[in-house]
Point group: C2
Chain length 452, copies 2
């Protein structure tokens, strides 16, 4: 028979077992942390009606989307988790209680040009809080705590949550008479890190048509840095000149003010006036998260406050706030940079039971006892030499071999070999279980990420 | 702005939050149980090269598949988890250790005619054990234990794992000179439950062209029932006439013989000579699982032994054994039949913290303490009347409200209201946490499924 060469499409992540185990632990931390904050898990279809998915229409998204016909249906694969959420909330509005807090971790699809570290199928891990008509600023204040806890529980330390408020930016640009140009100005200012203040000033005055005075004001404004208290205090100087600005200042102060009650250390949080996050969607607090040792990676968790989640589907105003982690890309980067801990068990099993006798029944009973104690156990089943069995165990990284020969069976004991220490003991089953359990607890105690 | 009517495609399951929580618990039991038996989790792409996915070609599958072009690529959505596994093992052969034990729980796609209880996007939960060239019969013997434990941990009691061996069937048909017709004969025999033995006999002799003597032999054979010991003993009468049959008998005896060591009760396991499971794929032990009170549902977990997992991609013989649960359909049926337990918490949070003062800081600190203790906690953020807050809590089914007013803050205590008992106590935070934890442990102790 002619064989077809097996391959996986480029831009699609497919991990080997050990890496997949690390990914599972990673996702488990996300699920657990999101759940702790009272978000309910959702799972929406990957395929949606293309008309609904593309209600907003236009732009880069439409080009990247996977869209196809099936029978008479015009279908598309979701390209994010926000549009399906908007559909879900509009569709099930009457059956939900608001504020509605949901998390979703799922695959999304974008047919981008394939390149290293870019994926066409990737997981996003989103949380959103949706209000019915109104949503209190406290929700925006809680988000940095969730970001902080998520990355801390993953084991990351050197990261900074950067927060701004779109009302401050909009209000400030209005003061300078730059409302009309605010989009272009923000896009230019966004390049500050890359091209420096002089070039920003040149583009603003020459290309965007900002007056030299206003350009100086803009540069002065975005140069405001320091501790959160210092930045907020510098912003006080602009108060009383624009209502939107004043609102934004009030909100930003509230968000920053509750940080210590939420247990977010000052060093992991920074008010940053250069953060803008796109143009039309966000209306209040905006968030980015930087890995301090890897600024080149960009933001690893972003989001913000918006006023109308589902405006394409319903007249009901549904304001919300949400953040998203691009899990697949983040995992890829962490792996590349050597951030993933190798300590925890990544083998399919914690213990491999090896029978040295023809009758497998004692080995099966031992395995059943281990499993009942929560130890992931494989019975080695194949007719191989002892050495081959042990090398299977070592190759997979299974930390314990449990050996059962005539002696063990006669004495009603198990021989337990710890592959890390090389130690082997022969003890009653209960003792073997305790020994394995405590060693596993030690091994699996660490976090998914370890920083060097 | 014109609104687009939100809808979810028919044949696509989209659950409301409470049902989704039950689904999550359901899947967690599958993950945990599969893991206990030493299976490693895999996650393969949902989109594959259509040529690879359809290597086998032909049949119903090809008509149902979601297939589309993107640029120059001929793509398709996976329609099961077995073909992607075959591709994975052939592709990564050199990097895997055999026996390779993996589980995968993922969405698959079949564009079937939409009808009640049938889904176009549905989860399958598969385990497979793949050998390199050979795979010991012990693997086939372990599968009923995994099925038994999976459904027991879900809370199902009245189910029966039905097991047969294709070698017994093939051997028996060879004895009757029916090798050529074995496919048609098995398909006819498969209708026994529906049409009865007389009609089966009529079809065999009139349509299939089986001699009356052979038809009687077939009917006598499939009429063999009783305890496992009785069926095996009846099969002994056929030994020595066909090598394949004798092998099958040997294997079936081994599988049945290890059941008690694996802790599978006799009443949950039955040797059933009418089980065949399709024609060309399975070559040894085959499994089906029936819900005894709902035979109309059909098998809820099926599978078997096969000789060549990846024959379309590689010359390497890769025998295996696997089973699959159609999670989405099973969940749907269990829900319809009222099998899902309402005991465990299905709310997004275990506790809702309500601040009775303007300053939210004490409420935030209380929430942080609850979360640190693993209690899923939401802070109620909106400016609403007390009654509206309590009704939000009740509507979501959050079991505990934690109230913080001037008194509680002054005394450094929390008021905890248990919504189930109506009881309210004011106690120090540590005591509140213990109280909530123990009540939650009690509530969440039960299984996902409860039988009436």
């Amino acid at each position: 028979m002619d064989k077809i060469k097996p391959r996986t499409l480029s831009g699609f992540m497919e991990l080997l077992p050990k890496k997949q185990m690390q990914m599972e632990r990673f996702m488990q931390v996300l699920r657990d942390t999101y759940s702790l904050y009272g978000f309910t898990p959702l799972d929406t279809p990957i395929i949606e009606d293309a008309q609904i998915l593309l209600a907003k229409g236009g732009g880069e998204t439409e080009k990247q989307i996977y869209r196809f016909q099936k029978g008479d249906s015009d279908l598309a694969l979701r390209f994010d988790l926000t549009v399906p959420l908007a559909k879900y909330v509009a569709l099930h509005y009457g059956e939900l209680s608001f504020p509605f807090r949901r998390f979703q971790i799922g695959k999304v699809y974008r047919g981008e040009r394939a390149q290293r570290g870019r994926f066409r199928e990737f997981y996003q891990a989103d949380i959103d809080i949706i209000g019915d008509g109104k949503l209190d600023i406290m929700n925006e204040a809680e988000i940095p705590a969730i970001i902080y806890n998520t990355f801390s529980r993953l084991g990351l330390k050197k990261f900074q949550i950067r927060v701004n408020n779109r009302k401050i930016l909009n209000g400030f640009y209005a003061m300078q008479g730059l409302q009309e140009k605010s989009g272009e100005v923000m896009r230019t200012v966004d390049k500050l890190d890359k091209i420096g203040p002089d070039k920003v000033r040149a583009i603003l005055t020459e290309d965007v048509g900002v007056s030299p005075e206003a350009a100086d004001e803009v540069l002065r404004f975005i140069a405001i840095t320091g501790t959160n208290a210092e930045v907020l205090s510098a912003l006080e100087g602009y108060l009383g000149r624009n209502e939107i600005f004043d609102q934004g200042y009030e909100e930003l102060s509230t968000v920053a003010g509750y940080l210590s009650a939420f247990g977010v250390p000052e060093e992991n949080f920074r008010v940053d006036l250069t953060i803008a996050r796109g143009l039309d969607y966000y209306t209040g607090t905006v968030y980015e998260t930087a890995m301090l040792d890897h600024p080149e990676i960009g933001s690893i968790c972003s989001g913000g406050r918006y006023d109308n989640l589902a405006e394409y589907y319903t007249d009901k105003p549904l304001p919300g706030v949400g953040i998203s982690i691009g899990v697949t890309r983040l995992f890829y980067v962490l792996e590349e940079q050597g951030y993933l801990s190798d300590e925890a068990v990544t083998a399919p099993a914690d213990a491999l039971v090896l029978s040295m006798t023809g009758d497998m029944a004692p080995a099966i009973s031992a395995a059943t006892a281990l499993r009942d104690a929560g130890i992931r156990t494989q019975i080695y089943t194949e007719q191989k030499k002892f050495k081959a069995k042990m090398s299977y165990c070592a190759k997979l990284g299974i930390p314990f071999a449990v050996l059962l020969g005539e002696d063990e069976i006669a004495e009603n004991k198990l021989s337990v070999k710890n592959f890390e220490t090389g130690e082997q003991v022969t003890v009653p089953a209960e003792e073997a279980i305790e020994l394995i359990q405590s060693a596993l607890a030690e091994k699996n105690r660490g976090t998914v990420i370890t920083e060097k």
